[in-house]
Symmetry: C2
Subunit: 67 residues, 2 copies
DNA sequence: TTGTGACTCTAAGTCCGTT
DNA sequence: GAACGGACTTAGAGTCACA
């Protein structure tokens, strides 16, 4: 399965588990709201530094988001 | 520590453990030799699809390269 | 065998909005 | 709240000659 789809599913599941909206989460991660939306739907191919930003507020490692 | 540095160290360690040159490895991963060189030294900020390409010939998950 | 600067071209990443 | 679109600037993808 495409790694972008896996990343998106992982991010969405963890975000929703915390009860955050995309905008809440985007602010915490320091990433734009629309970009988070695209990533969750597997439409973007983010860099490793963005994966790290995505992981931080979720309290997981960057690697965990890719598996 | 910078995630790009961690990625580079992980890639280099696993590649050398297999006794491959950068060029051998680059061919197996379907990536240019000089690009591998840059990644191992933390000079690039690759996307998740590149991380997946890097992981495949090493027999590890993409996530494992980031931790 | 690996490192480096320079290069072109494409996509990352942001920001505006509407549905 | 989230999906989606367009337009925009910056940075990554990918390659090369050479050290």
């Amino acid at each position: 399965m495409d790694i972008r789809i896996r990343l998106g599913r992982n991010v969405r599941a963890l975000r929703e588990a915390r009860g955050w909206s995309q905008e809440d989460y985007a602010d915490r991660a320091g990433i734009h709201r629309t970009y988070v939306s695209d990533i969750e739907r597997g439409r973007r191919n983010p860099t490793v530094t963005v994966v790290e930003k995505l992981a931080a507020p979720l309290g997981v490692t960057a690697g965990a988001l890719l598996n």
